[in-house]
């Protein structure tokens, strides 16, 4: 009888309990579960669950690629998770760029450049990828105007200086 009891308990634990627990999960949990089926994604989640700041950079480079693929773009979960607080923590706190970099599998430019691999996810700011065009234009004209003014002023000074010398 005791043996049978243990067997039933095991069965309950392995098959029934997860089923009971899954009754309460919402859409996001289902989506997260789908996402976690992917080995790479699982890696990230696992890293997140018991993360070690110094070892985080062992995440394979596919971290970037999986969210860039067409398939992932079609899955709302990728974007949802990417911009969720959890993933935000991973991407921006764990990869907060002040950690040990020796074990990193991808360079900063994978995200932080005009050719950023993080495309199609525009609801948050990535330095190096996102620039304010209006500010850039104002800054350019401000610098150009000051340089031109300085050259004109300097040029007039030189002209007057030469005239004085001649006279």
């Amino acid at each position: 009888m005791p043996r049978l009891y243990i067997k039933h308990l095991l069965l309950l634990t392995v098959f029934v309990l997860p089923g009971l627990l899954s009754c309460g999960i919402d859409e996001k949990d289902i989506a997260e579960k789908k996402w976690m089926e992917r080995e790479d994604s699982l890696n990230i989640i696992r890293k997140y669950k018991d993360y070690n700041r110094n070892k985080f950079f062992q995440v394979p480079e596919t971290t970037i690629n999986i969210i860039d693929s067409e398939e992932d773009r079609r899955l709302p979960v990728s974007k949802e998770l990417f911009s969720s607080a959890d993933f935000y923590d991973i991407k921006f706190s764990e990869l907060d760029h002040r950690e040990e970099t020796e074990k990193r599998f991808f360079s900063c430019e994978n995200c932080h450049s005009g050719d950023s691999e993080v495309q199609g996810l525009d609801d948050f700011y990535i330095p190096g990828r996102d620039t304010n065009d209006t500010l850039r234009r104002i800054g350019f004209w401000l610098i150009a105007f000051s340089l031109v003014s300085v050259f004109i002023h300097g040029g007039i000074r030189i002209i007057f200086f030469v005239k004085r010398k001649k006279s």
Binding site: S107, C108, E109, H112, P127, G128, T131, L135, I143, G154
Partner: protein, 197 residues
């Protein structure tokens, strides 16, 4: 005219280390912002961080020095001769007219310089340092519920960088408007300069 020490050793050290830090910060800052690629994002961030922390230490040291020596009084703004200075830069300088403000060891700055440097010291640099620190610690601050986005902080930080670039261009040009083209530069290197008696 007599030649004497105008800029003390600390002032010169403070000025040139400011120059080095600000140039590095501008170049690396623009690279981080994505305006161009020069040394790579990672190196740019590293150099930017080191330069920024160095500049903060330098600013802290200069604040103490200014208070201790009373040199902060140089930056008290005045409207006296302000119009004359503007007129000098727009007209008088071309006709080789005498400088409207006599430079002495006690009075190093003209009214325009006083205004601009004061603006830098009480507005531009504090905003840059504050937004720089908010940028640097944004991840941690976000976890504590800090409401301002990184994009907004970056926007202000970049906008003020353009003002610093503007100041730098005009400042470098105005160096050439001393008694001779290089007299102001020489004074900031050696400490010695010509002053009105």
């Amino acid at each position: 005219m007599k030649v004497m020490i105008i800029y003390s050793r600390f002032e010169r050290y403070w000025h040139w280390s400011h120059v080095a830090a600000v140039i590095l910060l501008i170049i690396t800052g623009f690279e981080i912002h994505g305006l161009f690629s020069f040394m790579g994002f990672e190196t740019a961030v590293l150099v930017h961080d080191i330069s920024a922390w160095s500049l903060i230490l330098l600013v802290a040291a200069s604040i103490i020095w200014h208070i201790y020596t009373g040199e902060w009084k140089q930056y008290i703004p005045t409207r006296e001769n302000l119009g004359a200075m503007l007129k000098y830069y727009m007209v008088g300088i071309f006709k080789n007219e005498p400088h409207p403000v006599k430079k002495t060891a006690v009075l190093k700055l003209n009214p325009l310089q006083k205004l601009v440097y004061l603006g830098l010291k009480i507005l531009v640099f504090p905003v840059q340092i504050a937004t720089g620190l908010l940028y640097y610690f944004h991840n941690e601050l976000s976890l504590w519920g800090f409401p301002v986005t990184l994009e907004s902080i970056a926007f202000i930080h970049t906008a003020f960088t353009y003002l610093i670039v503007l100041f730098t261009i005009i400042h470098v040009y105005l160096i050439t408007t001393g008694h001779t083209v290089f007299s102001n530069l020489k004074a900031m290197i050696t400490g010695y300069g010509e002053v009105d008696e």
